[in-house]
Every structure is written in structure tokens, then in C-alpha cells.
């Protein structure tokens, strides 16, 4: 067994152990902390699977932004843990559930191991058209060209989620500042970080979007970093979240899919097909779409994390 293999096995065991901890931990807070660590470990697994784009997304969104959301929720829900624990199903039911889940996992493992290797793939087809698109990262080509319809709809999913989250405000608070009322200003250290980090974060985010055409990175990863910067600034209370009635906020939310749709509809006219790029124009159009998608993701994710407005508009 080589060193790399030993490390892989160690990593897999660690991921499983932390996942088990997340499920089994007695306190919900410990469970959430376990989940954040789990997400980071999982990004390492993604790197080992030659999926650096996914690793970046998992670290930024799956672990990072989700972690912020879950930690703030678990603190507010602390009182509900004891009553819920009383509803825990009995040993027999849990044993039955465990048996069922073991069977499913074992069957799944068997099925996956039995799959042909090398398996079915679209890699050659995906690689064939990179030249005409002018991008070097095949994942970007899949997301913004071959399956751009999925990506556009997925951004619509995010917008519906924002509307869903906002719809949980009370009637009187509609239009007000997004997110819960916050207590006293936090300690200086956080404010210091929130002043220092964003300029750096913005540079890193733009870099990641820009190189995303040819290397790992892209709108989702870059947008998530921008969102993280916004969240740090909001947590340090350097500035208030925007009021949800603001037109500019709503424009930022829909900019990504809107530009996608405009380019898509223009495609009807010039190359003759919805969402198709005219020859020679693919690269600039892809960058245009990526830029607006980044903006929209950077606006959407913090709105989903901080939740509905908790005070009336001014």
C-alpha cells in the first residue's frame, strides 16, 4: 500500500467518523460544528477525485455559508432540544431503521462497485467543443454552454428560495432591513477582520471568476466568496443589511438569470437557437453571463443566510 493510498483511507475514515458524529452527537451544537468540519474534509475528498471546482464549491457553499446559517440557527433553537429528544423513537424502531439504512448503503456500495470502470462518459464530447467556445475549463463549458438551461433554472431556484424566506416575515416587517435584529456591537477583533478581509476577498473572488474560464473556479465559487465577505461585514455590524424593498437589491438578485435570458433570447435571432452563442462571440458572452451570475449569487446567498426582515421599513 502506498502512502497516498493510506492517506486516502485515513481521509475516508475521518469523513465517515465526523459524519457519524454529526448524526449521533447528543447536542445539536456539537453536531453542527461536526458538520462544518465534515464539509471541509469532504472538499479534500473532492480534490482527490480530480474535481477541484466541486471542492471549491463544497468548501465555500456546502461547508462555509451553510455552516454560518446552521450555527446561528442552532444557537437560537437551543431550548427546543430537550423536548425533541423526548420524541426520539424507541430502540426497536431505531434498530429497524438502522437495519434498513445498512441494507440500502450496502446495496448502493455493491451497485457502485459493479459499475464498469472505465465507465460511460461524455468527456470526449465535452472536450471537443472547448475550442469553439474559447474556454479551457470543461466544467464551465457544461455549466454555461452545454447545460446552460440547468444553470439558468437553478438560479431561478435560488430566487424562489429568497422569496420563500422573505415570505416568512411578518406582514408589518415587509420591506424592512433583512435579517434579525442584532444585539450589541461585537468585539473589536471581528470589526477589524471585517475591515481588513473584504478588499482581499473581493480580489480573490474576481480572480476565481476570471480564471474560471480556463482553470477551476467560476461564478458559483467567486460569488460564494463575495457572499462570505458580505456576511462578515454584516456580522461585524459595520453596515446594515439592505431593506428588502430596495429596487437595487432586487435587480442584483435577478441580474444573473435576466442576462442569461437576454443572451438566450438573442440567440433565437443570431445563431438561430435559444441559448446558443454566435460563432466567435462565445467567450465574451460567457464572461458576461458569469459576471452577472457572480453578482446575483453574491446577493442571493447572504439574503438566504440572514433570513427575513425583523423590523418595519424606515
Amino acid at each position: 500500500m502506498s502512502v497516498i493510498q493510506a492517506l486516502d483511507i485515513g481521509l475516508a475514515l475521518l469523513v465517515l467518523a465526523v459524519a457519524g458524529w454529526t448524526i449521533a452527537a447528543r447536542e445539536a451544537f456539537a453536531s453542527v460544528v461536526g458538520y462544518v468540519a465534515y464539509g471541509l474534509l469532504l472538499s479534500l475528498v473532492w480534490v482527490r477525485l480530480f474535481a477541484v471546482d466541486v471542492a471549491l464549491t463544497e468548501a465555500a457553499i456546502g461547508s462555509g455559508v451553510t455552516g454560518v446559517l446552521l450555527i446561528s440557527a442552532v444557537v437560537r433553537l437551543r431550548k427546543t432540544e430537550a423536548p425533541a429528544a423526548a420524541e426520539r423513537p424507541g430502540v426497536v424502531l431505531r434498530a429497524l431503521a438502522a437495519a434498513l439504512c445498512t441494507v440500502v448503503a450496502a446495496a448502493l456500495a455493491a451497485v457502485v462497485l459493479l459499475m464498469p470502470d472505465p465507465g460511460a462518459t461524455l468527456a470526449p464530447e465535452a472536450g471537443q467543443h472547448l475550442g469553439e467556445l474559447g474556454v479551457g475549463n470543461p466544467i464551465t463549458a457544461v455549466l454555461i454552454a452545454y447545460r446552460s438551461f440547468d444553470t439558468m433554472l437553478e438560479k431561478v431556484v435560488l430566487i424562489l428560495a429568497v422569496i420563500g424566506v422573505w415570505s416568512l416575515a411578518s406582514d408589518g416587517n415587509w420591506g424592512g432591513v433583512a435579517g434579525p435584529r442584532r444585539g450589541a456591537r461585537p468585539e473589536g477583533a471581528l470589526a477589524f477582520l471585517a475591515q481588513l478581509l473584504p478588499p482581499l476577498g473581493i480580489v480573490v473572488a474576481i480572480h476565481i471568476v476570471w480564471v474560471g474560464a480556463n482553470e477551476p473556479g467560476g461564478a458559483f465559487q467567486g460569488g460564494a466568496i463575495l457572499a462570505a465577505m458580505a456576511l462578515i461585514v454584516l456580522m461585524a455590524r459595520l453596515t446594515e443589511a439592505p431593506e428588502i424593498r430596495r429596487r437595487w437589491l432586487r435587480l442584483a438578485l435577478i441580474a444573473g438569470p435576466a442576462v442569461f435570458l437576454v443572451v438566450g433570447i438573442a440567440g433565437f435571432a443570431i445563431p438561430g437557437s435559444f441559448l446558443a452563442y454566435p460563432a466567435g462571440w462565445a467567450k465574451p458572452l460567457i464572461l458576461l453571463i458569469e459576471a452577472f451570475m457572480t453578482l446575483s449569487i453574491a446577493a442571493t446567498l447572504p439574503m438566504l443566510v440572514i433570513g427575513p426582515p425583523d423590523r418595519p421599513p424606515s
Binding site: L122, I159, G164, W166, L253, L261, I265, A276
Partner: protein
């Protein structure tokens, strides 16, 4: 082979499919940006356009006798995504457009932004979510790629769940959260199955998958497992017994126009995908054991749902349990319509007819119940005596909808159940016919429980003045369910266009 080539290139009129999806998406985005009372105006302005597009698609499919196809971005599958419309998609699109328009018209006033207010929470959320839901349904009915359909299912969930708890009462919040967890569970199982299919065949395009599964004499274990996972996930979303627990509280507590759309259309979307999966993607895998299991669950749902509907104290819960029962009928089509038997076409038409007529009937009944609640301030069945005089059209709508649920002529429900029953008799599968008869009797029971006291000569104290407009909307939908019973033979020809077995016979 000819059919294959046709399915991988854009056909004439294919652009209509794109428009049917992006019109509501554009409406939703615009409504959010412009906000306020414009959200409602935009939704209303686009509803006729959506209906027109759906009708144009249906006519185009009917005239050409072939499914419509659009290749998005000029990237043909397996790399790219195709949109396709066959007869079933076309009639579902028209039904969705009609029910959504009716629900929207019903919601006018209730979800209006009052003068002097720039924007209100519930109206903005309702009109944007309604358009989002509409877009999601369009993608479900037209999507030709299983992963694209996953995104569509998620769109549908995110539009439907917040509608359940728009009024913010605690029990609606609990119902919405439970609904969301069930729906997410369903999606993740579906996605897992899609992963296994991609790993086996290297494509998620429905037509290509169908071609590849048909070409292989022996199915890989991954494919069977994938089919099981995807079906289980979709059943959770369709609320087929015993995965129905989330449905009654969610559908019964939502605002009436939302209930109508949820019960009439949203559960049908995941049913539609189960049909796609077993009839289009892997008909070879649909053994008698599988189809019988699905139909047996359907039969259990019919009996269980109807009995529980009989025992409800609240009108909207009664209607919601009736949805649990009527979903059961849909699954009776599986053992009957699969394969190329002489009765399969009848059973297919019967299944589709049940989907459509239940959509109209159930939407009518939920809207009628909304009228009842609005005017009485409650919907306790024990205190509905004499309301027939106060709101005759609503009770008439409820009764006509009930007629269709029972399967009495003249109604779409009658046509549906008649076709299914005929197929079960011809195929020698008598048990399903018996279940349908019993289900019809039980439906008669729960409809009678409401209609009989309502027609009593008693006087009731009304809390609010009657809204004839809303009653008329409910009645119009109920008449739609009745009209389906007079569908001409050409309509049934349309339903058969693109039916996989029919296509296989053509090949």
C-alpha cells in the same frame, strides 16, 4: 431509428416549448423587481399568453401527429438538453394554464395590494411564487433530461412550500416544514437514481436512455436499483399511500387558491415523471411485479383515503383526503397500460383522463371550500346546513366536482374510470375494477356528507357577503371537469401521440 433521429433535432414549432417555459420565468423575475401591485398585473398579463402557448403546442402536436422537440443552445443530447412535448405533455400544459389562471382570478382581491400601500408581503409572495410554480410545471411537462427534471422538481418544491404557509399560522408552518422535508427526501432519492443511470448509460436524455435500455437484453443491477430509488422518491412527492402523511395538513391549511393548485397540479407533476420513467425510459423493466405493486398501493390509497375523507370534521381536510384517494386511481393505470395489449391504449387514455379531470374537479372543490370558509368563517362540516341557498354556485361546483370524483356520467371522471375499468375487465384484472367501484361508492358517501346538509332548508348566518365572482370561478372549473366527459375521439388521438408503445409499434 427514424423516431430516434426525430427526437434529437428541433422540429417545426419547437420554439413554442421554450416560450412556454420562459414566459412565466420572465414574469416571475419582473414581478420581483417591479414589485407592489405590478406583480399581480404582470401575472395576469402573462396568463393568456401562457394559455395561448399551451394551446398552440397542443394544436401543433395534434396536427403533426408527432412530438415537438427543441434542442436548447443547439447542443443535441447527450451533451445538451432537449425539450419535448407529446400528447400527454400538451394536455397537461393546457390544464396547468387553465387551473393557474382560474386560481389567479379567484385570488384577485384576496391577494390584492391595497391602495396607498407600496407593497404587501402576501400578495408579492403569492404572485411571484405562482408564476414560479407555473414555470416549474412547464419544465416538468416538457423536460427531456432527467437532471433537468431534477432542477424542475426543486423549482416546484421551492414555489409550492412557501405557498402553504403564506398566512403564517403555526400549524401551516409545521405543515410546510414537513412538506419540505418529504419533498427534499424525494428529490435526493431521485437524484441518486439519476446518478446511477448516468454512470451506466452516460446520458440522462429520456429518448437516448429508452433506446439504450431497449438495446440491452440484460439490465445492469444499477439500473433496477436506480428505478426503485427514483420511483420511491417521486412517490413521496406524489403522496401515494403510505407516503401521504404530509399532504392533508399542507393542502388543507394553504390559502384556497394555493390548495387548488397544489392538489390539482403539483402532485401530478411527480406522477407525470413516474409515468415518464416507467413508460418512456425503461418500459422493459416494468415487470408485472412492479406494476402490480404500484397499483396495489394505489388501491390501498383509494380505500384508505376515501374512508378517512368520510371521517373528517373539516371540509378542506375532507377534500385533501379525497386527493389522497384520487391519486390512487392514477396508479391503477400501470398494470393496465403497459405493453402493447389491445387494452393498453384505453388504460393510458383512462389514466391521463383521470389526471386531467381530477385536476379540474379538485381545484373546483378547493375553491368552493374557500368560498364557504370566507362566508361562514369556518369550514366545519357539521355546521354547513343550508349554505346551498347562500352560495348556490359554490355548492353546485362542489357537487359537480364530486360527480367527477365518484365517476358518474357525464364527467371526465366517468370517462377516466370507465376506460380504466374496461381495460381491467378486458385484461382479466378484475380486482382493480372492484376497487374502483368501491372507491366510487365511498366518494359518493363523502360528497353526500357535504352536499345533502348544504341543500337543507335552513338559514345560516354569513360573516361576509357572497362573492359571486369567486363562486363562478369554482363553477367554471367544475364545468371543465364535466366537459371532459364529452371529449371527442380526436382528443383521445391527441393523448396517444408519443405514447411510447405506440411509437415502438411505428418503428
Amino acid at each position: 431509428m427514424l423516431a430516434m433521429a426525430l427526437a434529437l433535432a428541433t422540429t417545426g414549432g419547437g420554439y413554442l416549448l421554450v416560450l412556454a417555459v420562459i414566459v412565466p420565468v420572465i414574469g416571475m423575475l419582473l414581478s420581483l423587481v417591479v414589485g407592489g401591485r405590478h406583480a399581480e398585473r404582470i401575472a395576469f398579463a402573462l396568463m393568456p399568453a401562457g394559455l395561448g402557448l399551451a394551446l398552440a403546442i397542443a394544436i401543433e402536436v395534434w396536427v403533426t401527429g408527432q412530438p415537438l422537440v427543441y434542442i436548447l443552445g443547439g447542443w443535441p443530447p447527450p451533451l445538451g438538453i432537449a425539450l419535448r412535448a407529446d400528447g400527454f405533455s400538451a394536455v397537461m400544459l393546457v390544464t396547468a394554464a387553465l387551473v393557474i389562471a382560474a386560481a389567479g382570478y379567484f385570488a384577485r382581491g384576496g391577494f390584492a395590494t391595497p391602495p396607498g400601500v407600496a407593497e404587501k408581503r402576501a400578495p408579492l409572495a403569492f404572485w411571484t411564487l405562482l408564476q414560479g410554480l407555473w414555470a416549474a410545471l412547464a419544465v416538468v411537462f416538457l423536460g427531456g433530461d432527467l437532471f433537468n427534471l431534477y432542477v424542475a422538481l426543486e423549482l416546484l418544491t421551492f414555489a409550492a412550500v412557501p405557498l402553504v404557509c403564506l398566512d403564517g399560522r403555526p400549524e401551516t408552518l409545521a405543515a410546510a416544514l414537513r412538506y419540505l422535508l418529504f419533498a427534499l427526501f424525494g428529490s435526493v432519492l431521485y437524484l441518486l437514481g439519476a446518478a446511477l443511470l448516468y454512470g451506466t448509460y452516460g446520458t440522462l436524455d429520456i429518448v437516448l436512455l429508452a433506446d439504450r435500455t431497449a438495446a440491452e437484453p440484460l439490465v445492469a443491477p444499477a439500473v433496477g436499483f436506480a428505478a426503485g430509488l427514483m420511483t420511491a422518491g417521486l412517490l413521496a412527492k406524489t403522496a401515494l399511500f403510505p407516503l401521504h402523511l404530509w399532504l392533508p395538513p399542507a393542502h388543507a391549511n394553504a390559502p384556497p387558491p394555493a390548495s387548488a393548485v397544489l392538489s390539482a397540479l403539483v402532485v401530478k407533476a411527480s406522477f407525470f415523471l413516474i409515468v415518464r420513467l416507467w413508460f418512456d425510459v425503461m418500459p422493459g423493466l416494468a415487470s408485472a411485479a412492479v406494476t402490480t405493486l404500484l397499483a396495489a398501493l394505489g388501491a390501498a390509497a383509494i380505500l384508505f383515503g376515501s374512508v378517512l375523507a368520510l371521517r373528517q370534521a373539516r371540509l378542506k381536510l375532507l377534500i385533501a383526503y379525497s386527493t389522497v384517494a384520487q391519486i390512487g386511481y392514477l396508479f391503477l393505470m400501470f398494470p393496465l397500460a403497459i405493453g402493447g395489449h389491445p387494452w393498453s391504449a384505453e388504460a393510458w387514455s383512462g389514466g391521463v383522463m383521470q389526471t386531467l379531470s381530477h385536476a379540474f374537479a379538485k381545484a373546483a372543490m378547493f375553491l368552493a371550500a374557500g368560498v364557504v370558509y370566507e362566508q361562514l368563517g369556518h369550514d366545519r362540516i357539521a355546521e354547513l346546513r343550508g349554505i346551498g341557498r347562500a352560495m348556490p354556485m359554490a355548492i353546485f361546483a362542489f357537487g359537480l366536482g364530486g360527480l367527477s370524483l365518484m365517476g358518474l356520467p357525464p364527467s371526465g371522471g366517468f370517462a377516466a374510470k370507465w376506460l380504466l375499468m374496461q381495460a381491467s375487465v378486458e385484461s382479466g384484472q378484475w380486482a382493480w375494477a372492484v376497487v374502483m367501484l368501491v372507491g366510487g361508492l365511498l366518494a359518493g358517501g363523502y360528497v353526500y356528507r357535504v352536499v345533502a346538509p348544504a341543500l337543507d332548508r335552513a338559514t345560516v348566518a354569513l360573516k361576509a357577503p357572497a362573492s359571486r365572482r369567486r363562486e363562478a370561478v369554482a363553477l367554471a372549473l367544475a364545468l371543465g371537469a364535466v366537459l371532459l366527459g364529452f371529449a371527442p375521439p380526436e382528443f383521445f388521438d391527441l393523448l396517444q401521440i408519443g405514447r411510447p408503445v405506440a411509437m415502438a409499434a411505428l418503428r
